[in-house]
C-alpha cells in the first residue's frame, strides 16, 4: 500500500531550559567579600566580575557540570 509522506510536526520541548541570569559583582566587592564571590561562582551561570564602570574584568565559575557558555 502506498502512503503519502506526511509533514512532520515540529515539537516544542515541554520544559524549556531557562538561561541563568547574568550575575555581576564589582572587583571592589570581590576583594571585600571573597566568600560572596565564591558563592556567586558556585551558582549556575557563574559570576561576571566588573570594574566600577561596569567593564568586564573576568568571568568566574565553579561548575556543577559542563562549563557554561560565557556571554561577553
Amino acid at each position: 500500500m502506498f502512503t503519502m509522506p506526511t509533514t512532520r510536526k515540529t515539537t516544542t520541548p515541554k520544559t524549556r531550559k531557562r538561561q541563568p541570569k547574568r550575575r555581576e559583582i564589582t572587583i571592589e566587592e570581590f576583594d571585600r567579600d571573597r566568600s560572596k564571590a565564591i558563592a556567586a561562582a558556585r551558582k549556575p551561570g557563574g559570576v561576571y566580575v566588573v570594574d566600577s564602570e561596569g567593564k568586564l574584568r573576568f568571568y568566574m565559575v565553579i561548575p556543577h557540570d559542563t562549563i557554561p557558555d560565557v556571554r561577553w
Binding site: 572587583i27 571573597r34 565564591i38 573576568f58 568566574m60 565553579i62 561577553w72
Partner: protein, 206 residues
C-alpha cells in the same frame, strides 16, 4: 588530549575546579585573584585567556604577569632535551611559603600534544602538599601532583594503578613525536626559540 587519569576523574566531580575566563590581556592582580580563590576553596584553578591568539600576545601576557611580585617567569633547560625552542616556566607565590608550578596550555604547534588546547590557559594547584599518596614532593614547590584528591576516595592500589596508566598513556601520546613528559615538569609553555629574546628581561634565574 590528556593522559592524566586523575584529571579525568577530577573532571567528573561536582565543584572540582575554579575556572575563570579573561577576555583580553589581564593584569597580574586579576590572575592572582583567581589563584587566591583556588587557595580559599581548596580547588585547582584554570585561567582561560580567550583573547590571546598568538605567541606574541602570550609573551605580552607573561610580561604583564612578571611585573607582579607573586609571579616568576623562568627559562627552563630540561636535561636531555636538545631544541631551539624556548621552554618557559611559570610560578606563583601561594602565601604558605610554597610556590605553585603552573601548567600551561596553548593552541600552538610547538606545545606538546598533551598541553594543546583551543585557548591559552594557565592551570595550577594553589594549595599545599595535600596528596597523601605523593610523598616525593619538593618542599618549597607544589605541582598538580600535590592536589588534594580526598574527594576521589582512592585506595592505595587504585592510586597506583591510575598513576601507572597516566604515565603509560602520556608516554604513548608523546613518544610518537619523540617527546617526553619529563621535559615538562617545570615547563608551562614551549614556544618558538625566537620569542626567548623578547622575554630576556622577564626571565628570572633560579
Amino acid at each position: 588530549m590528556t593522559g592524566c587519569q586523575f584529571a579525568k576523574l577530577i573532571a567528573q566531580k561536582r565543584e572540582r575546579i575554579v575556572a575563570a575566563a579573561f577576555p583580553g590581556l589581564t593584569s597580574e592582580i586579576d590572575v592572582s585573584r583567581l589563584f587566591e580563590t583556588g587557595t580559599d576553596t581548596h580547588l585547582p584553578v584554570i585561567a582561560l585567556f580567550t583573547g590571546i591568539r598568538t605567541e606574541a600576545a602570550l609573551i605580552e601576557q607573561l610580561s604583564i604577569l612578571a611585573r607582579g611580585s607573586r609571579w616568576r617567569i623562568t627559562r627552563e633547560h630540561p636535561a636531555g632535551l636538545i631544541t631551539d625552542d624556548a621552554m618557559i616556566g611559570v610560578e606563583w607565590q601561594i602565601g604558605n611559603g610554597c610556590v605553585s608550578s603552573v601548567m600551561g596550555f596553548a593552541p600552538f604547534a610547538t606545545m606538546p600534544v598533551t598541553r594543546r588546547a583551543p585557548y591559552v590557559c594557565l592551570a595550577a594547584w594553589p594549595g599545599g602538599h595535600d596528596n597523601p599518596h605523593w610523598t616525593h614532593y619538593e618542599r618549597d614547590i607544589v605541582h598538580f601532583l600535590d592536589t588534594d584528591l580526598t574527594a576521589l576516595q582512592l585506595t592505595i592500589p587504585k592510586y597506583r594503578s591510575l598513576t601507572k596508566l597516566s604515565r603509560s598513556t602520556t608516554e604513548q601520546l608523546l613518544t610518537e613525536l619523540g617527546d617526553d613528559a619529563r621535559y615538562y615538569r617545570r615547563v608551562a609553555f614551549r614556544l618558538q626559540g625566537s620569542v626567548a629574546e623578547s622575554l630576556r628581561d622577564v626571565f628570572v634565574s633560579r
